[in-house]
């Protein structure tokens, strides 16, 4: 039943996993940076 090839991590797996956490985090950072700019206005 076990197939070693099925468990091999592909580049697509890595990109999807990092995008899954990276996109919301980047959106939050961007929003915070926009708000933080008020300090310098």
């Amino acid at each position: 039943m076990q197939n070693v090839d099925q468990s091999k991590t592909t580049t697509l797996h890595l990109v999807l996993a990092w995008c899954f956490v990276g996109i919301p985090l980047l959106a939050g950072v961007t929003q915070t940076l926009i708000n933080a700019m008020k300090l310098f206005q």
Binding site: V21, L25, G28
Partner: protein, 464 residues
């Protein structure tokens, strides 16, 4: 749970050949980004004071002081649950811990939604405070030892990435919560109930993805080309049992270092808005102060990753020496910046201080691993987090009461924080001394082959 849901078992999460270790940090981030929402819970406070009155508070609406307890209970339960469930997390494996944390976190939101619907604050204390607090404690420590095992060459960077997510979670949750409430709000409704349900469901999916992705390395696994570092007295290759670790002076010295670093940072973090406006009246407005708080949360998050990564090169003990010495200089500089009206110097000091506050959290798992080995590091880390809970009480109390004392004794508001800054600097001197006395753990504490914890243990997790 293991017989009911066997796919959660540690044995089912052992990575097969071909698994890429860079999939594990996103799995950890799935959990930490969600539970990091706790830092943004305050965005619900004002809307929850208007659940009945909607446009303004009405008789029967909750008070801010009562709502403040939700966060306090959650933080207290975080420390307790991390300490109590640490060994279970370590022995049960990361998937079981992440699944449990995800279920509790989503459950906490859904129960709180019920509390909002029935207008019962006690249900919210139970939901978000107690059950959500358990999710915070279990979720926070769940990926720690797994990441250290996958990245024996860069343990600081690996745990720094996950703990950075805890800092970043609030940056995501805060605008998301405000946006959701605005979408669900109506002239007769503030939208908190629906927002809790949506967030609970979204967080559940997110955390389950993390639980599905996570893997532990096979016992004999090592990164390609990895050569264990040269013999270093401050990096142990032996494991110390969790309940033996707390008997060592090293544990309590590191506890003291973390407590003092966190006390100093948390006092500044919680009061930054008021402090900046009072120290620079006319220069820093309320809007600018909000910008400063936002910038500080970015440095808090960035410091978690960068300082922990730096610790891989300069060593854990030296990193804390940097925190203590640099922190001392910066805290002493803040009153000078206030006296000379130098806003930029003030902002610079605060940003570096808050980065070291975050760095203190993210560097400590690797420090514990250096001292006590990797086997029980998450459990020991869980107990160490009581330092965070204690600092959460002492830090704000110190800064608030000293300011209050100064103001009532005629000290101008612009100078009311000076004493506090000098006290914080003094705390870091004590932290420096505590860190100075950290030495290698006595070999009598190292686990032997006949240790009771080894009976029936399945060797899991690789390169020590």
């Amino acid at each position: 749970m293991s017989s009911l849901l066997p796919f959660l078992d540690r044995s089912r999460t052992i990575a097969k050949p071909g698994f890429n270790r860079w999939l594990v940090p996103p799995a950890a981030l799935c959990v930490h980004l969600c539970i990091g929402q706790a830092y943004a819970f305050s965005v619900f406070n004002l809307p929850m004071t208007r659940l009945i009155g909607v446009s303004q508070s009405a008789p029967g609406d909750w008070k801010l002081t009562d709502l403040g307890w939700i966060f306090s209970i959650a933080m207290a339960v975080l420390g307790i649950s991390a300490a109590v469930f640490g060994r279970w997390v370590e022995e049960g494996g990361p998937r079981k811990a992440m699944f449990t944390a995800g279920t509790c976190w989503a459950g906490g939101f859904l129960i709180s939604a019920l509390g909002v619907y029935l207008h019962s604050l006690w249900i919210i204390y139970l939901g978000y405070g107690v059950i959500g607090g358990c999710a915070l404690g279990i979720g926070y420590i769940s990926p720690v030892s797994t990441l250290i095992k996958w990245f024996p060459d860069r343990p600081g960077m690996a745990t720094g990435m996950a703990i950075m997510g805890f800092g970043g979670g609030a940056l995501v949750a805060s605008p998301l919560s405000v946006w959701l409430m605005s979408k669900f709000a109506s002239p007769t409704h503030v939208g908190v109930f629906e927002t809790f349900i949506v967030m609970g469901c979204a967080y559940f999916v997110f955390m389950m993805v993390g639980a599905a992705i996570v893997r532990v390395p096979a016992p004999d696994w090592k990164p390609e080309g990895f050569v264990a570092p040269k013999q270093n007295r401050l990096i142990s290759r032996k494991d110390v049992y969790v309940y033996d670790a707390v008997k060592t002076p090293q544990f309590w010295l590191i506890w003291t270092v973390l407590f003092l670093n966190t006390t100093a940072g948390i006092g500044v973090l919680g009061q930054a808005s008021a402090m900046s406006q009072e120290m620079f009246p006319g220069h820093i407005t309320a809007i600018a102060a909000a910008g400063l708080v936002g910038l500080m949360s970015l440095f808090n998050m960035g410091g978690r990753f960068s300082w922990a990564s730096v610790s891989d090169f300069i060593g854990r003990r030296n990193t804390y020496f940097v925190f203590m010495v640099l922190g001392f200089v910066l805290y002493v500089t803040v009153p000078f910046a206030g006296a000379t009206g130098n806003v930029y110097l003030f902002v610079f000091c605060f940003l570096i201080i808050v980065s070291m506050y975050g760095g203190g959290f993210s560097t400590v798992p690797a420090y514990l691993k250096d001292m006590f080995g990797v086997r029980y590091v998450a459990a020991i880390h869980g107990i160490l987090l009581t330092a965070w809970s204690a600092a959460g009480i002492v830090g704000p109390v110190l800064i608030n009461y000293i300011r209050e004392y100064n103001v009532t004794h005629g000290v101008p508001k612009a100078q009311a924080y000076n004493t506090t800054m000098y006290i914080m600097a003094g705390l870091l001197v004590i932290g420096f001394i505590a860190n100075f006395f950290v030495r290698a753990v006595n070999s009598r504490y190292h686990m032997q082959a006949d240790h009771p914890a080894n009976a029936g243990a399945v060797p899991v997790g690789g390169a020590h």
